[in-house]
């Protein structure tokens, strides 16, 4: 069975641009969560979706948005990119959200 897959693996953008990151969960998982990890820190929670509804949101500005599709895959959008948005963006899936999170390999975003 495939694990959590994220695309793209690497991305380079310039300030002010917009970016969309994609995530496919493990088959059977209905919850997808997004995290931002900057160098030297633990992952910071951005969003959690369950059955296409937003169930939790971390302390991120409105420039960050996400959605979950009927097949449970998810997209994370970031508008008006800032240099500080450069990070590893991780997606995790789980059965119901507060249980074991299974992580993808991440998308490394560099904002120049």
């Amino acid at each position: 069975d495939a694990g959590v897959t994220q695309s793209p693996t690497h991305l380079i953008k310039t300030r002010g641009q917009q970016v969309t990151l994609r995530c496919s969960p493990i088959s059977g998982h209905k919850s997808v969560s997004w995290y931002q990890q900057v160098l030297g820190q633990g992952p910071q929670f951005i969003f959690q979706y369950y059955e296409k509804e937003e169930r939790g949101r971390g302390n991120f500005p409105d420039r960050f948005s996400a959605r979950q599709f009927p097949n449970y895959s998810s997209e994370l959008n970031v508008n008006a990119l800032l240099l500080g948005d450069s990070a590893l963006y991780l997606c995790a899936s789980s059965f119901q959200g507060r249980d074991i999170q299974y992580f993808g390999a991440g998308t490394r975003l560099s904002v120049l």
């Binding site: 030297g40 633990g42 959690q48 939790g56 507060r98 999170q101 992580f103 390999a105 991440g106």
Partner: protein, 111 residues
Amino acid sequence: SQELEQSPQSLIVQEGKNLTINCTSSKTLYGLYWYKQKYGEGLIFLMMLQKGGEEKSHEKITAKLDEKKQQSSLHITASQPSHAGIYLCGAAFSGTYKYIFGTGTRLKVLA
């Protein structure tokens, strides 16, 4: 404020030595999870603890959760270079779907 405190931040040990990593919360945990991360990669699930006083082992790694469900430790026996990486504790809290991680412990094992 950081809701999960991990210590130490980094650790360098000689191969064969034992070591312990700690994770402390100011709130009662719904569940405590330990993960390992290789630099720049995704997190790999190690163990889950949900009951106060629970202890689990896998190969040379043992994780414990205290009775109050606010402190956990991860102990590695006879460390090997393959144990090197970043160890992260993660937790879910009652009443929220926000999943929190500690700052991580960077482990280096010298051969």
